[in-house]
Point group: C2
Chain length 245, copies 2
DNA sequence: CATGTTAATTGGTATAGACAACTATATATT
DNA sequence: AATATATAGTTGTCTATACCAATTAACATG
């Protein structure tokens, strides 16, 4: 069950084991887990290692600890957890839609004022830009404009940019992706959006922009998306606050 | 500096000490912290305790670890961090607005279908309901409808509901607040919203609903807000993903 | 000068144990 | 019957130590 000689850390193996119990429905929300000591004894590992595994799951909101009582399976989160970065494809699958993609523009160009600002670059630098319509069950869901810092993400091809950008950055370029920040706002569709999304000008649009950084803080991607207001809800889960007031 | 006999845990004292260094600007983004071993030696505590302190700050996104290199102060987050629960008041202050509040309805009533669903209650139970216009610099920013489970949050007064609900729940009732989930969507203002927000029907509105739970998962609060699309942007920070794909 | 090697330093993982603080239950005591 | 009191079980905090893996800089070698 647990392989001490595996290259995978023991605490990670424990995490997966616990996750599986929950995914399989063997452990249900409200159930109490075996105590940490029993865990440690059963797997013949240290209690601190058990704690490390459990602590991460608590931070993700999957488990809940109560001093003096025990550790419990948390109530199920509603809709999409959507903490952490999720791609449009994953997002749509989680919502039960068939994701699709219609690229109508791919170019290398100097950045516009907004993009240069967001990606912290000079006007003489270059960005890769993609424009596409995102589909859900073959009907337009969003219009998406992506700008990628060409000085950071080098030798990018159209195919890779479309399908596996993050993989390329981490696996091929050996960079590590860090945090992202998103802003959402409500607006009305203009002529361009209306046409591409097959709605009427004046219909509601949810604008989502995302800026993604490397681990060292360098911004490398800026995405502006216009989602159809009648088809899309954005969900977010806020874990209990650990901050002081 | 660190008091081993304090009722506050040592790891917490270390956290505060580090936070202060950053707040004071003594440590700036990109700076490297003393190594964990040096920390431990300096404060005469165990390295594992230092790690506990640092790990939480890393999870909050304030620090960044790199194996073999060190631990660094993370780049500053942009705009509102807004992870964790933030009140309208705090939100507006952070944006440089003067927050205001015009309550025009406070009642105890059986829940509507939607509210009963959201708060997981019977139609014969009771909820406290508040309706108010939220102001920023004395101009309407949002319309807010709050429903509070009267069986969980007992003996609520109009004043408390308006000003310090969360404090009341935790301090007076002795309950612990847990996670919340929010959804955002774009829509057009109807007659009612238009009038109260001093905009035109058909103008863009950002609908935000929040459901807040106790630590044991019981939902106790359901809030639906209509924000003026021309005045409000919602920002969110996504820490690096710890999830598998 | 370029290249490979070594050593030192860093965070990552794991151990075995200790005591504190909190909770629930059983057991006396009044 | 109600109320203390012990006690066993839980998570929370902390120690001291060990070895692993990644990075960096100094050094030796070609």
């Amino acid at each position: 069950m647990i392989d001490k000689n595996s290259p995978l850390p023991i605490y990670y193996q424990i995490q997966e084991w616990i996750r599986k119990k929950m995914d399989d429905g063997e452990w249900e929300p409200g159930d109490m887990l075996p105590s940490e000591r029993i865990f440690a004894e059963q797997f013949n590992i240290s209690r601190m290692t058990v704690r490390q595994a459990i602590t991460e799951l608590v931070n993700e909101g999957l488990l809940r600890r109560e001093k003096g009582k025990g550790t419990f399976v948390a109530e199920k989160k509603l809709e999409q957890p959507l903490q952490g970065l999720t791609s449009f494809t994953e997002d749509m699958k989680a919502r039960g839609f068939q994701p699709g993609n219609k690229l109508y523009e791919f170019r290398v160009t100097p950045p516009s004022r907004d993009v240069a600002d967001a990606l912290n670059m000079k006007k003489t630098d270059s960005v890769y830009e993609l424009e596409r319509v995102r589909l859900a069950d073959n009907k337009p869901m969003a219009l998406e404009m992506t700008s990628i810092h060409a000085g950071v993400v080098t030798n990018l091809s159209k195919d890779i940019a479309q399908s596996s950008l993050y993989n390329y950055i981490e696996q091929t370029l050996g960079l590590t992706i860090g945090h992202a920040s998103q802003t959402l706002e409500s607006a009305l569709a203009g002529e361009k959006e209306a046409e591409l999304l097959q709605i009427e000008a004046g219909d509601p649009i949810l604008w989502i922009s995302r800026k993604t950084h490397l681990q060292d803080g360098t911004p490398f991607e800026y995405v502006r998306s216009a989602y159809r207001g009648d088809r899309y809800k954005f969900s977010i889960h806020l874990p209990r606050s650990t901050r002081r007031h």
